[in-house]
């Protein structure tokens, strides 16, 4: 009887997820261009991928982004959750304010940030100049463009993770803190030995989602910088999109998409492994 209830969902899952994935895998071995061609070309697309400098550049960019984005995301959302956990006066307002950026559409938010980050007329450099600092052309100069994207995506995503951490923090049993207090543990110690270990599943979830999100970065890079300057903010998904939809090389785009999904799988497995090892301690 139970199977009857899940049939519609499973059917939809098969039709819209499993079959397309299998088809895409097949298409990655063809020169599919949506309209006229669909010949089997063997491993050509994958060979081209290995020699495609831009593909490797995008991977490097995404790696650089992840190294900054993932730890910062966890640190900031966890600190926000710790700060806004206890019911103090006005805490709800802060929670709401922290969550608010998450509600805006990525493209709309990015559009506003372009304006805020303008070197001469933007508010960010205006504030910096009050401290005697000449801000850079955030979105047009080399290391700053990627830093700006990290900042904007963080601004937009920490709110959601804060909520997840808040839920996790509510699950930490109070008696652990009480007994720690009796044993003379200070705030840092009770965080290090109680909060952090108990939150491990939450951190695992947040970090896995952050890894996947980082590897699939697209909107912000597309709107904020169009991949520039000098391809320094071009992401893999952006490259896939360009090859597939602008150049009609769907087969090649498919091959890249598969390479990317394998990379995501590998990093997720590494993350899983790291979390397991820690739980043994």
């Amino acid at each position: 009887m139970g199977y009857l209830f899940i049939t519609p969902t499973i059917l939809l899952f098969i039709i819209f997820t499993i079959i397309p994935v299998i088809m895409a895998f097949y298409l990655s071995f063809t020169n599919y261009d949506i309209v006229s061609k669909n010949d089997f070309v063997g491993l050509d697309n994958y060979k081209r991928l290995v020699e495609d400098n831009i593909f490797w550049t995008t991977l490097k960019n995404v790696l650089f982004y992840s190294v900054l984005y993932i730890p910062l995301n966890i640190a900031i959302s966890l600190s926000m959750a710790l700060l806004f956990m206890r019911s103090r006066f006005g805490v709800k307002l802060f929670r709401t304010a922290g969550y608010l950026p998450t509600l805006t559409s990525g493209v709309a938010a990015a559009t506003v940030w372009i304006w805020l980050l303008n070197p001469e007329f933007g508010i960010v450099n205006d504030i910096l100049s009050k401290f005697g600092i000449t801000g850079p052309s955030w979105l047009a100069e080399m290391p700053y463009a990627m830093l700006s994207i990290v900042f904007v995506t963080l601004w937009q995503s920490v709110g959601a993770n804060m909520i997840i951490y808040l839920a996790g923090l509510n699950g930490v049993p109070d008696h652990l803190y009480e007994s720690a207090k009796l044993d003379g543990a200070n705030a840092w110690q009770s965080f290090r030995y109680i909060t952090w270990p108990v939150l491990r599943p939450t951190t695992f979830f947040v970090s896995t989602m952050a890894i996947i999100g980082a590897l699939q970065l697209f909107d912000q890079a597309f709107v904020l910088t169009k991949g520039g300057p000098a391809n320094s903010t071009k992401t893999t998904v952006y490259h896939i999109y360009q090859q597939g939809f602008n150049q009609l090389q769907m087969g090649y785009a498919d091959a890249m998409a598969f390479a990317l999904s394998i990379i995501i799988l590998v990093f997720s497995l590494i993350n899983m492994r790291l979390n397991k090892e820690e739980s043994v301690i």
Binding site: I15, F16, T17, I19, P20, V21, M23, A24, L27, N31, Y32, D33, I34, V35, S36, K37, R48, N53, I54, I114, W115, L116, L117, N118, P119, E120, F121, G122, S129, T134, S137, W138, L139, A140, E141, M142, I212, G213, Q216, L217, D219, G228, P229, A230, N231, V237, I240, Y241, Q242, G244, F245, N246, Q247, L248, Q249, M250, A253, D254, A257, S261
Partner: protein
Amino acid sequence: MKKWMTVLTALSLTFSLAACSTKTGEDQTAESKKPETTTAPAASTAATKAPVEITFWGDWGGEGEKQFVMMADAFNKSQDKIKVKYVLQEDMITKFLTAATSGGSPDIMFWDRWRTSLYASKNVLHPIDDYLKKDNINRGDYYDEALKELSSGGKLYGLPLTVDARALFYNKKLFAEKGLTPPKTWDDLQNAAKQLTVWEGDKLIRSGMSMQDNGLFNMWLQQAGGSMLTSDLKKTNFNNEQGKQVLDFWDKLINKDKVYKVGFEKGLGEGTDAFVTGKVAMTYTGPWMLSTYKKYGKDLDFGVVPPPTGPGGAKGSVMGGFGLVIPAGSKHKDEAWEFEKWWLANKDNTLLWAKTSLNLPGFKPALQDPFFKDDPNWKPFMDTLEFAKIRPQHPGYSVMEGDGLMPNIELFIQGKQDAATTLKKGQEQGDKLLDQNAAGK
């Protein structure tokens, strides 16, 4: 962003589904229409057949949509055999690709011309050479370059709707303050830009010349007497003296004379446009900005001149614009052609749209109208169009430019790479991209 993966893959599935569903959809409408056609003659006795309805796709909304609908209505009123319906498609090209394979293709389409070399080679457009011959349409009534841009493999795929090219906009008030005349050569341009730039410490208050669009390299290269691709359109052709002249000149303007700051105009919308607010004294842009700038009336006193010439006296600008094309999947190609001919090969109709939408029409006789010929703002564009050239017709041209050359130019402008390396790397990467994205690959 998981969506992208699924979109990519789901697309393929959608084709097969769409193929079945649209067919049945059409069968139904065909059937439901039948009774009307059979009852109509009985009622009116005359042989008035129901008009053939054709679909016209475009991606211009807002004002643009109103102007397209106006043209469709005018055409519908002019005869009773064909009825045109404008359908706004925000993501037109992607939708067109799915429609091209599933049978839901539009009958006529608003078309950004530079796409022709990429799409026509995939056989999704219908050539119009035979129609041209049948209706005695004179090719000389259109700019050669515009027709060339709508051609691929020796066949013509549409008629030009608009023509445009970049020309130099300058702020008359600022020029008068310094007693300057509009630049005619690169030297004039440099001199004017230098004098008009204002810095306050390390803050740029006013830029003499907007240098935000590196994509204009093509235009500057023509002014230096060069071209982006070799004459057989197979390889890049900028790693030479001409290419170096452009980069050296840009380096002078941006890094030595400091007439611009990278990112200066980023994120400025219409109301805060740096040219409107006088923060940029000169800028290269196209006729599409005229209506915007005219809106500011006396607050912005501007003039337009053809692009200044390079050191060797060569002129250069890039021609672009739109056309109307008939997709290969159209079921009413003849009717679509009737509409295209009515609109684009007739002076009155061409002018009607051109004047309403404020675009330079692609039909030359219409350009003889005083509205365009005698207007001091349109005139420089028409002069520029005399020598402007289209983008090279190679399916991989835009990728070569965007991924091969531009990243290197950006490194150069930010002082991270010298001119020789920039051109050499641009050539190597560009040639590779041209090859990978060539037709038939």
